[in-house]
Amino acid sequence: MSEFDAIVVGAGPAGTSAASKMASSGMNVLLVERGDPPGSKNVSGGILWGKDLSKLYPDWEKTAPLERFITNKVTGFLTEDSSISIDFKTKRFERQRTGYSVLRTKLDGWLAKKAKDSGATVITGITVDGLARDGNKVIGVRQENDVITSDLVVLAEGANPRIAIDEGLRQPINDHDVAIGIKQVFKFSEQTINERFNLRNGAGFAGEYSLGFLNNGVKAGGFLYTNKDTISLGVVIDIFDLRKDNSTYSFDIMEKFASHPYIAPYIEGGQLQEYSAHLVCEGGIDYVPKLYGNGYLIAGDSAGFSFSNGMMIQGMNYAIASGIAAGETAISAKESNDYSESMLSSYEKKLSSSEVLMDMRNFRGIQNVTWSPLVHEFIPKFTEGILYNMFNETGEPKKHLFEIALENFAGSKYDRKSLVLDLYRMMRRM
């Protein structure tokens, strides 16, 4: 007889959602988080998209600690001198909110409290050492010299899943699976942010950029999100090319983004409140491990559930959705008192019919596009050249767009064949 029906490792969006779902159906659930308080080890990439939380807490939009709802979405390219972007603002996002900026210590604290209110036993400040096994079956967790038993363990450890790796439940992480996320949070008054970004009544700005000003093929994306009275500014750096270059410091890329001529004015005068770093899952569907086995399930970032197609970066919503799916699977397992691999395989079936695995399968290989030289070097510089020539009045006779484009293409290092191939890949995968 196990001490708990389920033990959930990690109190982020995935773990708290799984724990809450199970506990509210009457299961005896232990939720263990190494951070104290919850969220103090976590870093958000910024925006919580979607409405997944409403399945657990119908009133979440009124009660959760959300910063701002996004009405202004910018996708852009930055070069040494220029900024080129699509700037989309819509009243529709005001009427039907789709994304909120969040800060994780606040959000995760709230989520953990909701899990506790649902009836889960929430323990913080304890690091689980590993899994306890009986043959090929997971029967609980190990911590110091103790074993705490449970019928099911849900691993929701985040993007650096120590237990899953050490226990051989997932392959080790390699350069293409993750990127380095670095973030700085600056303090302002709410009013300053409203004025700087032309925002009213709790609306927010979300900007995502390809950083086309880095040298030696180093690739990184940048983001800027407005919170209530802070701004989150961050970069996501590709490890593979950083390694090839082996002369650029990751933290210098953060600083270079923050001091870019068209980013620096946004954060001018802000007091740095936090510097943080976290791995970002980038491996797509090929990085997703086996999601279940006898007595265990894997959810959230631990399972590699995140998505970025260059237009949208998502992770927290998949974490919540996968946590709920894990919880539902556990409830059925409890009902039939069967926690075997074949019973728990319904977890993957649930995810396959939800956006989580559908998005990831649909966009298989998208990281090859979002991290391609096309996106990070060619498009920014090519577009900059065209726009500059178009808008620059020199007093000379004007040229046709096609002519300008050809001239700029000739100036780039790209050969025609790989351009066509990369463009084709982009159109197909994006």
Partner: protein, 90 residues
């Protein structure tokens, strides 16, 4: 602002009894790239007179070095008992 000044705004609860990351000096000595020194966002890895120096006290627990080191020198575990980095905002 340099990286040291940025790290200075952070709250750590350092565990003096447990270095959660360790490196194997004999591997680092012969390392051809020392990519860790470029990858680590908290500059925990530095070269002093060509020798690798590592301090776990500034670690923000991102896991980058575990991926960055392709020579098997970095042994990565989580700090114990709520110690280590303590983000205020996240």
């Amino acid at each position: 602002m340099n990286i040291e000044e940025k790290l200075a705004v952070l709250n750590y609860k350092t565990d003096p009894t447990y270095p959660h990351i360790t490196v194997n000096p004999s591997i680092c000595e012969t390392c051809p790239d020392h990519f860790c020194t470029f990858a680590c966002p908290a500059r925990c890895y530095t070269l002093i007179d060509g020798k690798l120096n590592f301090k776990y006290e500034d670690c923000v627990e991102c896991g980058t070095c575990f991926v960055a080191c392709s020579h098997g020198s970095v042994k990565w575990t989580n700090p114990k008992g709520g110690q280590g980095i303590k983000y205020k905002l996240g």
